[in-house]
């Protein structure tokens, strides 16, 4: 046993003891009063933050690009935050961000999963930062209950899952076996989309789900899983339903390697450029557009409008506080329209920000 004192340990223990002696409180002291001040920010004072998982996939890269485009249109710069699909890192970044100056802070956030939304919302609400969230939130958490959580935007996963399911059924002529590639199992997107597929299967009784495996939204995993399933089910596989385009593209590679390119129909969701190209080239059957560029811009636009006072939270219709955005089934017929993601400044006018509402969140 070493008896030499450890200075570091001593300092830590002392500060700890001091802390315990002084008692506890429920609120952090020293923070300024941060009740949301409706409106009143000068355009130049607004701080725009876009947070997504990473910059290394096309969808989220286009999201950030959309955010940049909007910020430029109002003469600001978007701060980009990425958290590598790491829930804890996302929370840590948010809480660190909210520990700074939050007066005119506008955040357009893609929560990693449903469970990540509540603490973000709570933190933003306490700090008085304007928040727009997208994709993931628990059903019972509603923006309408909060002052600065302006809106939650998502796409109807059940609907898109069903749409591509139907497209797939049509493509294989209404009968035959298909396999499904699921996303990360504990995300709402994965579950909703799969629920959509199940609904579609009910409708198309000739289509049989041979197998379903998780490929975690990953192109590489989808490749391996598809190869395995192809050998397992052989020629019975007429179609592949993938919960996103990355997996669909992985499945396409697997088909090509198995010498079955073109013989099996593939559908996905997200309308990433590669998928659009594949659809145009006839390799893929269908996808559903979820416009990343628009998502990146619109979240900031809504927040900016509220922060600068051009829009009042109280005036926003209840249906617009949490809504499904319009999505489009992309097939060979209309693929050309989606080939180039474009940012339309008119979408971001404060009067137009809710133009793409397809319906209230159910």
């Amino acid at each position: 046993m070493k008896i030499t004192p450890r200075p570091a340990a001593a300092i830590m223990s002392l500060s700890l003891a001091a802390a315990v002696l002084t008692g506890c409180s429920s609120e952090q002291a020293g923070g300024e009063d941060t009740s949301a001040s409706e409106a009143g920010c000068k355009s130049a004072d607004v701080r725009l933050v876009g947070q997504v998982r990473n910059e290394s996939n096309p969808y989220e890269a286009s999201w950030l690009a959309g955010g940049d485009a909007f910020a430029q249109s109002v003469g600001l710069k978007q701060e980009r935050l990425t958290y590598d699909g790491d829930s804890t890192k996302q929370q840590e970044q948010i809480s660190q961000l909210l520990a700074g100056d939050t007066k005119c802070l506008v955040m357009n956030v893609l929560p990693n999963g449903d469970s990540d939304t509540p603490p973000i919302v709570k933190g933003a609400d306490q700090a008085g930062a304007y928040l727009v969230t997208q994709w993931n939130k628990p059903a019972d958490l509603k923006p309408a209950d909060y002052k600065t959580w302006i809106s939650h935007i998502t796409y109807n996963g059940v609907e898109s899952g069903q749409q591509i399911g139907d497209a797939l059924a049509t493509a294989i002529g209404g009968t035959g076996g298909i396999i499904a590639l699921q996303g990360i199992l504990d995300t709402a997107a994965a579950k909703d989309r799969f629920a959509g597929l199940e609904a579609s299967l009910k409708k198309n009784s000739g289509v049989k789900l041979l197998d379903q495996q998780a490929a975690n939204f990953s192109r590489a995993e989808a490749l391996t899983v598809t190869k395995t399933l192809l050998t397992k089910h052989g020629d019975n596989v007429k179609g592949i339903w993938a919960a996103n385009d990355d997996m669909a593209l992985g499945a396409l590679e697997a088909l090509q390697q198995a010498g079955k390119a073109g013989k099996v129909a593939v559908v996905g969701i997200d309308a990433v450029p590669d998928a659009i190209t594949a659809i145009q080239g006839g390799k893929m059957t269908a996808t559903v557009s979820s416009d990343g560029t628009w998502q990146g811009g619109i979240g900031l636009a809504i927040g900016y409008c509220v922060a600068t006072g051009k829009l009042k939270v109280a005036d926003i219709a209840a249906d617009n506080r949490a809504f499904f955005a319009k999505q489009f089934l992309v097939t060979k017929d209309n693929a050309a329209d989606f080939a180039q993601p474009k940012s339309n400044p008119a979408d971001y006018e404060c009067g137009n920000v809710f133009n793409r509402v397809a319906g209230p969140l159910t």
Partner: protein, 332 residues
């Protein structure tokens, strides 16, 4: 003078070749293969066996690299980052949709060399900064991912290079070209391990590093060289993933670091170094792939697959070590 140990008793164990303890993993492989084959007729089909071997290609190449590092008693977690960087590099250098480059084989070579460079960086951090390999390679992995993200720049590069694409699609004697490349890597790896100073020293460093120093061997350059060699394998692995996916992904190497270590260890390479080798690892890779494939084939729920796989890996290693259990044995 007195004589105490005059006569040496007859020896029982073999002194040269493979010993009993090397038999564990192959036996486990055969047993697990047998179980799956009995459970699922699809599993034992020729197609599926081809599929398993093809699917093992990339993991085999990555494991070749990691095996050398593990033999030294170090560890390497840089595969994910290095593969990402090399995947992006190769996809931007061969014919692709992002730029007009069309360097073909040269591009592949550059990607492999980049892998070497990253490996070298890990080695330098270990040798010069004396950072344990666990952290050094973790840091290099992060750097690799960062470099890959820089090159990615928001648009996925899709390759259109006929040769690189053909690697994943064309077949020779029933197996994809990639599989033959992996087989070649295993052969090269084995030759390096058996017939070069680099390979033998890697093995010796794992056995008794201080002795090498005492014998006047400068260990440091060999350590760097081993990491560089491993980096080359990861670089090639990144190229192979790009060939399979038809696009350069930052996530090309996701998960390969831990799978490769698992495969190597399941094959009988010790994490403490000094034992095992390329052939052990090849068996380990097959074992892991048979497991992954077999679980899907017999229809284990996707929720449980990971768990069952973990359980079987632990059981396989346990079964392999039981014959050599001794009291007072050190297990880290």
């Amino acid at each position: 003078m007195t004589a105490e140990e005059v006569v040496t008793a007859p020896r029982r164990q073999s002194r040269r070749g493979a010993s009993f303890r090397d038999a564990g993993p192959p036996v486990a492989l055969i047993v697990i293969f047998g179980i799956f084959a009995a459970l699922s007729p699809q599993f034992r089909s020729i197609d599926n066996v081809q599929n398993i071997v093809d699917a093992a290609a990339v993991l085999a190449v990555v494991t070749c690299g990691i095996t050398f590092v593990l033999m030294m008693g170090s560890i390497d977690l840089s595969a994910a980052g290095v593969m990402g960087a090399s995947a992006l590099t190769v996809s931007l250098l061969v014919a692709n949709n992002r730029n007009d480059n069309d360097f073909g084989l040269l591009g592949i070579l550059v990607a492999v060399l980049l892998g070497c460079a990253f490996g070298c960086l890990s080695g330098l951090a270990l040798v010069l900064l004396k950072v344990p390999s666990f952290m050094a390679t973790l840091g290099v992995s992060a750097i690799g991912l960062g470099v890959a993200t820089l090159m990615f720049a928001g648009v996925q590069p899709n390759i259109s290079d006929a040769m690189l694409e053909s690697w994943a699609i064309e077949r020779f004697l029933g197996f994809a070209y990639l599989t033959w490349i992996a087989a070649a890597c295993i052969l090269v790896g084995w030759l390096i391990q058996r017939y070069t100073r680099l390979g033998r020293y890697a093995y010796a460093i794992g056995g008794a590093e201080e002795v090498l120093t005492l014998s006047g061997v400068r260990v440091k350059p060999y350590k760097i060289a081993v990491f560089t060699l491993a980096g080359a394998f990861y670089g090639l692995g990144g190229v192979m993933v790009t060939s399979q996916l038809g696009a350069g992904l930052v996530q090309a190497g996701d998960g390969y670091d831990f799978s490769a270590i698992t495969a190597a260890v399941v094959g009988g390479t010790l994490l403490t170094g000094g034992r095992g080798g390329i052939l052990h690892s090849a068996v380990g890779v097959l074992l892991v792939m048979v497991l992954t494939n077999g679980l899907v084939q017999v229809g284990v729920s996707p929720y449980w697959q990971g768990g069952v796989e973990g359980l079987i890996v632990v059981a396989a290693v346990a079964a392999a070590v039981i014959p050599q259990r001794r009291r007072n044995q050190v297990v880290k």
